[in-house]
Subunit: 222 residues, 2 copies
Amino acid sequence: MFKKVLVVEDLDTVAYGISMMLKQELGIREVHSTEYCDKAYTKIEGELRKGQPYDLLITDLSFKKDHTPLQLHSGKELIEKLRQKEHNLPIIICSVEEKPTMVKRFIQIDKVSAYVLKGRNGLKDLKEAVMAVFKGQHFVSNTITQLTKGSGFFELEDYDVSLLSYLSNGFSQTEISATLSKEGISPSSLSSIEKRLNKLKDILKANNNVQLVANAKDLGLI
Amino acid sequence: MFKKVLVVEDLDTVAYGISMMLKQELGIREVHSTEYCDKAYTKIEGELRKGQPYDLLITDLSFKKDHTPLQLHSGKELIEKLRQKEHNLPIIICSVEEKPTMVKRFIQIDKVSAYVLKGRNGLKDLKEAVMAVFKGQHFVSNTITQLTKGSGFFELEDYDVSLLSYLSNGFSQTEISATLSKEGISPSSLSSIEKRLNKLKDILKANNNVQLVANAKDLGLI
DNA sequence: GTAATTTTTACGGTTTTCCGTAAAAAAGTT
DNA sequence: AACTTTTTTACGGAAAACCGTAAAAATTAC
């Protein structure tokens, strides 16, 4: 089994739970944990230089902002920086996000070994994942593989979410159009934005932009 | 210290972490946990009938939906049903939501003893909360009390909240005016409604109705 | 009871959203 | 290459939101 594992997770409750499981149920002796991606990166580099590198990285994706200034704001950025700097240790992502396309991306491009969905079986899945990865195998939580098959579920693109986000921040449609075209993001015309928003109103069953944003908030999309 | 505690939490990682902490650090012998609010309710009732009631309830607020049909969909509903049925055991909420008005509501109306924010200090806070509640005191995580103090915490009238609520349900200002005058609620004129909404936009720092509703959602006003 | 103040309502003008239609551009097919 | 389909953009009119001003009504003060 792995001997030295780093857990990156901002919720201390979760970090504690994972660490305990790794130690008690998998008998891993050295389990370190940190609440920030920046610290995680320096730790990984540091231990490597000491000649005592980590065997495995388990990381969350989203981290709450607080008042410490950071370079790396998400698990995604941490992973990308690690791979960019040729750190090849196996990585397990442990997150509540269940977007199939993202998961695929992580596994194919960033060579992530496993994707565990935090949920009713999160910890059991993680245990399985660690064992699988130790054998050189991959692991993805069931609920996600199910999602990739049944495509009846609606999934919004980042573009749509950003529109909703702009709206919720008080931008008018005209202002959104101007902002997008300034940033070279397409489509950017007022007309296209209206069309997208109409599609979203249809999906989220809203009569107007106000209700649209309200419903999006309720669903946790923004 | 409490002797018999029920933890209601859908993420097994979190449930595991909390349970371990309660047992190991606070020496609580009987720690049960469940992933559904419905089960939580029946357990509480059941143990009470057996004459071995729980001393304390620790519950999350939001639960992921899966394919088991449920009566109680959230911690809020569980708590309300318990109080309605005269279950007076102390309750600690442990959630990621940090909406000041909600927290106040829980403490004042539902007689919740503590509100712990899941975050970098979630587990430490929870430990403190349990000890405080055992002494008959209240506990609210720091980050939340900061929010209630800092940058103006406003008490809105029911009228204002109902306006926001109408908006979030897709009503136009004209429709709201018509509805209010039909129900004999004053003021009901379009002009007055505009004026109120302008005041609200001022208070909640919003440029337009869309942002207004978004911000109101963030604060848990609606 | 009258004056002063506040609240509610009314109205006009400008901007933005909302909604349909349609052209222009891009992407995909054969 | 020619055609079809999809995506993006353009435009015009109606509805709604936005913003200022001001009259009417209700409250309060004296």
